[in-house]
Amino acid sequence: MFSNYLKLALRVLQRNKFFTGISLFGISFTLTILMLVVAFLHSQFGAKNPVSKTDELVYMRHLKMAMVQNDTIWAKDSTQVDGIWKYDSTFQNVNNNISTSISWYGKKFLDSYFRQLNSAEKFTFIVPTSKYNVYVNSVKIDITTSYVDEQYFEIFDFKLLEGNFISKADIDQKAYMAVITSELAKKYFGSTNGIIGKQMLVDGKNFTVKGIIEKAKMVNLAINGQMFVPSSILPDDVYETGYFGNYMAVFLAKNGNIDAVKAEIKDIVSRVPFLDPSRTNGIAYNQIEAMPFTFQESLARDVIYMEDGAESLFYLRWIVFALIGIFILVPTLNLINLNMSRIMDRSAEIGVRKAFGADSNGILIQFIFENVILTFIGGLLGMIFTIFLIRLSNNLNLLGELVLEFDILFFALSFFITIVFGVISGFIPASKMAKVHIVEALKYK
């Protein structure tokens, strides 16, 4: 029976070329957008090298210090007492933020308070993505350099293509060693072969290439460098004023308990002494707040800036869900509308089928099946467009460091969405027509 339905579905699609074209355009366009969104979320938020432990990481990117003063506001108003107008005064106590500063962490601050977290299995302090211009054969190359410690490559599992990562000895010896991405190796040396041990002149200093890694394929400050060198080569007091500096910290939670890490960080910060105003340009900061976020919260906060990263993630999720919902709903309603008019043309066929023994369920299944075939073809087209656009985006670096991926899970999810889309947009018109009385249906010529 289904082969008959399939045959009929394909012929109906061939017959109504205009309808088929409009429908397929709508379906494939919708699914392309949907799949690109899913690919983006999957590639950016999903766990994969070098961030395969997304659920176990806590980021400390910014420190917030504020000077808050208690103030009294006196408000005067007129009011009636026993029919006579009198003045009425109100006093209100409020906390006024006089000054708020947010910046990266200072090395000394991190060393003093965050080297021994009970809840963290590992930690790394990073000076992320400093940019240097280098000229190779008169061609300018922008090199993004991150200063890291020995635990960096244990937390972020970059794929090592050749050589070794930065070691504790490199840190201790303040060695000018560099781990570089294969992309930078090709740009700087023209090849990735035989360059271990070779020298690179960056920022007026000679670095020895120690390892070659595959570059991170997602946008994230902590991992987006092209060149990773020991942070110990930086002077201790680099750019530091008070507790602020140029560092961020990433912690790997013990047993994945990120809440414990967050709580411990907040607890430590609550006990940190306030700085003398002489060290902070005369501002008497009396509130200090570390802002520990999970990997996803940290990313979400880059999109929707809110004080609380969890809140950023919450709103981002809802916005994404709402957009996906609208993107499915609008074309579904359109397709329902198109299907209604198309199915009316086939009224007589429904009447004949019923006369010869089809029941309402049979008719319903037939028309839903036909719509699923239509959406399936639209889905396939959408997938082809998506693969094309993903390749285009990756080849032209349209999304910067982010490399979009297309995997089996993603394929299955898109297929599922396609089928749901087909069933939903086919169900309402089909169920309406399945209920039409045979005699009425047969009146259509």
Binding site: N4, K7, L8, A355, G357, S360
Partner: protein
């Protein structure tokens, strides 16, 4: 074979009530060829639809092959139609996207049959109407007479014992009309198929065993 007792059909709107059939009593024997005639709007097609279980009477009792079918639920009715009744319509009602072969097989889709069995049965039906050389054609490639022959093949493919034809020659010229009439007569004589035919054509009606006339929903 078919018994109709006190069949009435009323159409009601908010303001008006129309009587389409008024107290129809009818007995059709097995193997009989009955024609129904009457002016337009007298209730011929309504009566045929009620006999064919395509429409329900407002009241009255229908018995077909000893079974009181007027009490059937929708699914039972669909099954009964599929197994015992075949329909021929004035405007053929072939599905334009399906080939002649697939159109003829349509009633068999609702039976538990293999593709091979369906093909065999459809080939036999098409052969009996002389169209076995047009199996892969589409309705748009056929003449009116050929279309109606396909419709007859579709009506008889499931070997129903009753065929209901609603003006089967109404859209055809006299030559093709006679051709179709001869096929129906042959079916009636050779297979003993009971046929009830609505027609406007006196000549066609007189070729059948019995003629029933309707006027304003009443039997004359």
């Amino acid at each position: 074979m078919i018994t109709l007792q006190n069949i009435n059909k009323l159409y009601r709107t908010d303001t008006i009530e129309t009587t389409a059939l008024n107290n129809i009593n009818l007995q059709v024997d097995e193997g009989e060829f009955l024609s129904i005639m009457g002016p337009s709007g007298c209730g011929k097609s309504t009566l045929l639809n009620i006999i064919g279980l395509l429409d329900e009477p407002s009241n009255g009792k229908i018995e077909i092959k000893g079974q009181t079918v007027s009490n059937y639920h929708t699914k039972e009715t669909a099954k009964f139609r599929n197994e015992h009744l075949g329909f021929i319509f004035q405007s053929f009602h072939l599905i334009p996207e399906l080939s002649v072969m697939d159109n003829v097989q349509l009633p068999l889709l609702y039976r538990n049959l293999s593709q091979k069995e369906r093909n065999q049965m459809a080939s036999v039906a098409l052969e009996s109407v002389g169209l076995n050389n047009r199996m892969e054609h589409f309705p748009s490639q056929l003449s009116g007479g050929q279309k109606q022959r396909v419709a007859i093949a579709r009506a008889i493919v499931g070997k129903p014992s009753i065929i209901l034809a609603d003006e089967p020659t109404g859209n055809l010229d006299s030559v093709m009309g006679n051709e179709i009439m001869n096929i129906l007569l042959q079916l009636n004589q050779e297979n003993k198929t009971t046929i009830i035919m609505v027609t406007h054509d006196e000549n066609m009606a007189h070729k059948t065993h019995r003629l029933m006339r309707l006027y304003d929903g009443r039997q004359l």
